[in-house]
């Protein structure tokens, strides 16, 4: 029982970060109908940014989120304005290829600068744990990152539901043409959505940097995970991505314990294929015909 509880809790904690990654991807997809294959690489950029801030300025990764978030927002906005904006009406495969290309550029530029050595960001609490009782303990950095994730997600919900810009983003996601007719600056919303998506991915990167190896190719793992999460939750649904993230986190940690850690990613991909086949609209998505 303790093992079960332990893996459930770790799953939920890591699932919080996954949710952040998934929400970013789903926001971008919702507003622009573009599947961002560079999502994991944007996360990787966030990781290196955090690493640099930590080693050069000595700022704790959880504090430096305050710097990473706006910087990654600008980075994403610029990416949208310079590249993505030009292919909004192009074929889906061209959009996918463009983002794959951008991802390759990011990971290889980082590799040129930092080499492909694994970097580790060690904080005083990197391997600390908190005992919860009943033989269950929680990793301190995971717990902190989960709390920050929860706060960011709550703030994001508030932003999307209550502010004018948030509502405009949701309107654009619902119907781009109608939103434009209502006088919403759709182009600006796209830039904001891509910026936000990138900021969320970058923040997720910052939050996992104390517990994860940092290397240029780390992104592709997270790109794939982000797809699984968003498809599971329903493409374009923020609530779905939140749920999907937590579900994938739990699935991973459960299959690592009860099957084997080598096969846990296979379990996730099989789940992904099953969802694609039997419920392609996902948990929260509206079915599109």
């Amino acid at each position: 029982m303790a093992v079960f509880l332990q893996s459930l809790i770790s799953g939920i904690l890591i699932g919080g970060v996954y949710a952040l990654i998934g929400i970013g991807l789903t926001l971008i997809f919702g507003v622009m109908r573009v599947i961002n294959f560079a999502h994991g690489d944007i996360l990787m950029v966030g990781m290196y940014l955090t690493y640099m801030i930590f080693t050069l300025l000595g700022i704790d990764p959880f504090v430096s989120v305050l710097i990473t978030f706006p910087l990654m927002f600008l980075f994403g906005g610029a990416l949208q304005k310079v590249f993505i904006n030009r292919v909004l009406d192009a074929l889906a495969q061209n959009q996918i290829l463009l983002t794959i290309g951008l991802g390759l550029i990011m990971s290889n530029t980082v590799m040129l600068i930092f080499t492909s050595d694994y970097k580790i960001l060690t904080t005083s609490y990197s391997s600390a744990t908190i005992k919860v009782g009943g033989g269950v303990s929680v990793s301190t950095p995971l717990l902190i990152s989960f709390l920050i994730t929860a706060a960011i997600t709550a703030a994001l919900y508030w932003f999307l539901l209550k502010t004018d810009t948030g509502q405009a983003i949701r309107a654009t996601a619902q119907d781009r043409d109608a939103a434009q007719l209502m006088g919403i600056n759709v182009k600006r919303m796209s830039i904001i959505a891509f910026g936000l998506g990138s900021a969320l991915a970058g923040t997720a990167g910052a939050l996992i940097s104390p517990t994860y190896y940092i290397f240029p190719q780390v992104g592709s793992v997270f790109t794939l995970k982000a797809f699984v999460i968003t498809v599971l939750g329903g493409m374009g649904s923020v609530v779905g991505a939140t749920l999907g993230g937590v579900l994938i986190g739990i699935t991973e940690s459960m299959s690592a314990v009860y099957i084997s850690s080598g096969w846990k990613d296979v379990v996730v991909f099989v789940l992904f294929l099953l969802v694609l086949l039997f419920k392609p609209s996902g948990l929260m998505g509206k079915s599109r015909t």
């Binding site: 590249f83 889906a92 463009l98 794959i100 290309g101 040129l112 991909f269």
Partner: protein
């Protein structure tokens, strides 16, 4: 003068030239480059049949490449099965895999199909890592020696030099080109193109979409598997990232994107650009050139840095190329050239 006769004569001349190259070129490096080029053309052309003609943009072709390479290598390594038998075992395995993948992925369209194809290839890669007794896991399989090719007691070739590989590679190129030509000019090809242009319209015209997509996939997968087996034997080593990784799928697709999808010469053109460029980066030719023309001092910090790192970053070039191609010539080089030709014709009129 008849244009098509001229064309055939040119192609025959080119082929004759390619056939006698190993007689005059002895440098193993030059032959190696040609073999890489052949491999790239074969890979691109195989993808082109499914992606270019039938419009199913698989980003999971590493699955077929890897299954071909792994089957041949595993049989040779553990059972001592000679590669020219193993290759066909690889083909058989790939047909089974392709039909399973097809039955799953072809129910999906557009971006969902792309995602599913990636997921399947990733499952294959992770399985190769985890099925250690079969695949030797992450360490990969190293073939120390390739048994000679014998018919009866006569040794046809012993694979000591690169020359036999050169001819096998050339054969692969001709095979894939031939199949592509056949597809383009047969009813099958018209069905493929109809599916590519408008799936629903094709369906309403009575084309069995699932059947033809699967036929396209099997043809494409079998050819990719042959290229994979060839790669495995030529390099003598396979491990999960080099034959089953996502990079492999992307590279296969890039050959066609850069050259031009759905054209016979697109993958050839794409390979002619990609292979020399990435080889120039890999072998530090570009750094040497920069040093030679005096732009960078070889012993300066920048020179050492470039020498150290530029060779690892040939994938960066793929990234830049794909972004430029998508933004400025979304139909690839062939499409770009055609557009230019069309414009010139119009101006002439």
């Amino acid at each position: 003068m008849n244009n098509s006769i001229l064309k055939s004569a040119l192609i025959a001349l080119l082929l004759a030239g390619l056939l006698i190259v190993p007689r005059f070129v002895e440098s193993p490096y030059a032959l190696h480059m040609m073999i890489l080029l052949f491999m790239s053309v074969a890979q691109g052309q195989s993808w082109n049949i499914l992606g270019g003609y039938a419009g199913q943009h698989s980003v999971g072709h590493a699955a077929y490449f890897g299954v071909g390479a792994y089957t041949t290598m595993m049989l040779m390594h553990s059972k001592g099965v000679v590669p020219w038998v193993g290759v066909w075992a690889g083909v058989a395995a790939v047909i089974v895999v392709a039909l399973i993948i097809g039955s799953i992925c072809f129910r999906l369209r557009g971006p969902y199909f792309v995602l599913a194809s990636i997921a399947v290839a990733e499952i294959m890669r992770l399985s190769a890592i985890n099925l250690t007794p079969l695949t030797n896991g992450a360490e990969g399989i190293l073939a120390t020696e390739i048994p000679a090719f014998k018919i009866g007691a006569t040794v046809i070739t012993d694979f000591v030099t690169k020359v036999p590989f050169y001819y096998i590679g050339l054969f692969l190129v001709l095979l894939t080109l031939g199949v592509t030509y056949w597809v383009q000019h047969s009813k099958l090809g018209y069905f493929f193109q109809a599916i590519r242009e408008d799936q629903d319209a094709a369906h309403s015209l009575g084309i069995n979409i699932a059947l033809y997509k699967n036929i396209g996939l099997v043809i494409s997968a079998v050819l990719t598997s042959l290229a994979g087996s060839f790669y495995g034997i030529y390099v003598g080593f396979v491990d999960p990232p080099t034959v089953l990784g996502l990079d492999v799928s992307v590279q296969i697709m890039l050959i066609c994107i850069i050259g031009g999808m759905g054209t016979i010469w697109g993958p050839v053109l794409g390979s002619l650009i990609l292979v020399p460029l990435s080889e120039a980066l890999r072998s530090n030719m570009i750094t040497d050139l920069l040093v030679k023309i005096g732009m960078v001092n070889a012993d300066s910090k920048i020179g050492l840095f470039l020498k150290e790192n530029l060779s690892h970053a040939h994938v960066l070039l793929y990234g830049i190329l794909v972004v430029l191609v998508i933004l400025f010539m979304p139909d690839g080089l062939m499409g770009f050239v055609k557009k230019l030709a069309l414009r010139r014709k119009r101006e002439a009129v």
